[in-house]
């Protein structure tokens, strides 16, 4: 059974098999619409499939929200080089824990999405790059891959056609930066996870400098539903330009945290109050991180907002990876800022100076603040340092560190000033689950 109860307000499209007996087995999958989208795809041209994806308004679920159909169309299908399908299962943006469930409870859905991708771009090999900590998922995925070979869904000349496709799992070994697509490809090739300069993008020169279709687990897992329902019906689930459903990972100070599937455009306050069962201990809401710790947080009064890429972008934040972190009125935002920066400083790969030095100095300044030794000038300096990182780093990890810091220092400046005036505060004892 998944780790939390489903909620009636959910719209379960890609999580609908969660909780079925043996949900990870190919028999359960086949008995519940499994591999029907592949059948349909094999009767369509690659262009028709890409059009269907474009119409569906499916956007990348890994972080940036790039339109999936458009990304698939960038892969040069006529290139003489071998082509690869790559699944980003590195899931390590703080607040995010959904790809894990998609692989644990429905591994064949992911495989089917990969197969459709392989058919579209003409790839014969696909890999699933799984973060090292998720060892049990390698076992689950390997078992599913074996079943797919045994039933003729993977192998050479499949379904009486020329379509040949092989899939393997691959493991990382602890590095957030390896979730960044170009660092992931370096790591996949047996190197340090250092980002590559782009262009060329992975679609053109990815794994082994060959055309590579790289998407997040949830993105690939959504592709079968798009083809089964048809692009327009899938788009219809969400709001304009933001099609379908997505997995929200709700955490923090709510009564019933958990992973829930909701349509794009679902109101944020309904997530807090209905799916989350309201704030714990009757506290008031202070802030929400909408989509993983790199997203600028919203103050309580900004939270009356639909959860879709465009609405959150308009509010100068992001839907990101769907990791929604809820904070109550007693949360110490200075400490939150420090904890976020400690993470990005630890995970900066050190390749480019603005990120390596920027995160290090921001961590030092924030530590000084929390220790009660902040200087009046520090508030401005933290903001300036962070702003100077924006857009000046090799990969977006620098932005990921700077954006939440800027938001916190601008929106909760009073808390930094209180530290200056009153000195250090004892760390809050959090309520612990019984």
């Amino acid at each position: 059974m998944p780790y939390n109860e489903p909620h009636p307000a959910e719209v379960r499209i890609i999580s609908k098999r969660f909780g079925l007996p043996n949900s990870a087995s190919i028999d359960t999958y086949l008995a519940n619409e499994g591999y029907q989208a592949l059948d349909k795809a094999l009767g369509m041209t690659p262009d028709a499939i890409i059009d269907e994806l474009k119409v569906s308004n499916l956007r990348g679920r890994g972080g940036a929200g790039f339109p999936t159909g458009l990304k698939w169309s960038f892969v040069p299908r006529t290139s003489p080089k071998p082509k690869y399908v790559m699944v980003n299962a590195d899931e390590s943006e703080p607040g995010t824990c959904k790809d894990r469930l998609l692989m644990e409870f429905d591994p064949h859905q992911l495989l089917e999405g990969m197969m459709i991708g392989a058919y579209v771009i003409g790839a014969q090999r696909g890999y699933i790059y799984i973060r090292g900590e998720y060892r049990y998922l390698i076992e689950i995925m390997d078992r599913a891959i074996e079943e797919a070979y045994a039933r003729g869904y993977l192998g050479d000349k499949l379904h009486g056609t020329d379509f040949t496709f092989h899939v393997r799992t691959h493991t990382g070994a602890g590095a957030y930066e390896c979730g960044e697509e170009s660092a992931l490809l370096e790591s996949f090739e047996g190197k340090r996870g250092i980002p590559r300069i782009r262009p060329p993008f992975p679609a053109v020169a990815g794994a082994y400098a060959s055309p590579t279709l790289l998407n997040n687990v949830e993105t690939f897992s959504s592709v079968p539903a798009v083809l089964r329902m048809g692009g327009p019906a899938y788009a219809e689930l969400g709001v304009p330009r933001n099609g379908g459903t997505r997995m929200l990972c709700l955490s923090g100070h709510v009564n019933t945290p958990g992973v829930y599937e909701v349509p794009l455009g679902f109101p944020m306050m309904r997530v807090v109050n209905e799916l989350g069962g309201g704030m714990r201990a009757g506290k008031k809401l202070k802030a929400v991180v909408p989509g993983g710790s790199s997203c600028p947080l919203l103050k309580a009064e900004e939270c009356d907002i639909p959860m879709d890429y465009d609405s959150l972008a308009k509010a100068k934040s992001m839907l990101g990876s769907g990791g929604m972190i809820v904070m109550d009125e007693d949360t110490d935002m200075v400490r939150v800022a420090l904890r976020i920066m400690r993470f990005y400083q630890h995970e900066s790969c050190g390749w480019c100076i603005p990120c390596r030095e920027g995160t290090t100095w921001l961590k030092k300044l924030l530590t000084r603040f929390v220790d009660g030794m902040g200087q009046p000038n520090d508030i401005v300096m933290i903001g300036d340092l962070a702003k100077n990182m924006l857009g000046r780093t090799f990969c977006p990890l620098g932005d990921a560190a700077a954006m939440p810091t800027i938001a916190i220092i601008e929106k909760f400046r009073d808390e930094f000033e209180a530290y200056l005036a009153d000195g250090p505060k004892p760390r809050r004892e959090e309520l612990v689950y019984a």
Partner: protein
């Protein structure tokens, strides 16, 4: 270096996972799977992996030092990893961390003198909705309280006897 039959089979399989001439891709999986069995990334293992994938040992070492899960020094038999990242911090992860340090009398990346238990404060392990979360070796434990942690640590000790 002689590998156990299981590890030898794993290495053979890993080498076939990648296209001809791209065996370097097997480096990180080889190191991690071997470390699980041997306890750490030893100089002999580095030599062995380099030989199998056709690189210099120095290239393996250079890669190995990048990844936080790969380590040259053995950890405890049970490596207890406590997440204190934001979602866990908001639900008591830092309290758990301090509790574990106090109870075991060790700190970050240290092991008990008998080598049984080691501790590490880790970044998000992908269990945020069931926070605070910890991992013991590869096993997840969700919604951990100080009491549950005590029970768990005690059971690791009894297990070992």
């Amino acid at each position: 270096m002689t590998l156990s039959p299981a590890l030898e089979a794993k290495f053979q399989k890993l080498l076939t996972n990648y296209p001809e001439g791209r065996q370097r891709s097997a480096m990180i999986p080889m190191l991690l799977f071997a470390q699980d069995e041997i306890g750490s990334v030893t100089p002999e293992l580095i030599q062995e992996v380099a030989k199998r994938i056709g690189t210099q040992p120095l290239q393996v070492e250079e890669v190995m030092t990048y990844y936080s899960m790969l380590h040259a020094k053995p950890w405890g038999k049970y490596h207890v990893q406590i997440c204190t990242n934001v979602s866990c911090m908001l639900t008591g992860g830092e309290q758990l961390w301090e509790h574990a340090c106090e109870k075991l009398g060790i700190g970050h990346r240290q092991a008990t003198p008998d080598g049984l238990i080691s501790l590490e404060e880790v970044e998000c392990i992908g269990a945020c909705s069931w926070a605070p979360a910890i991992q013991v070796n590869y096993d997840f434990h969700h919604k951990v309280t100080p009491e549950k942690l005590d029970q768990l640590l005690d059971s690791l000790r009894t297990h070992a006897v």
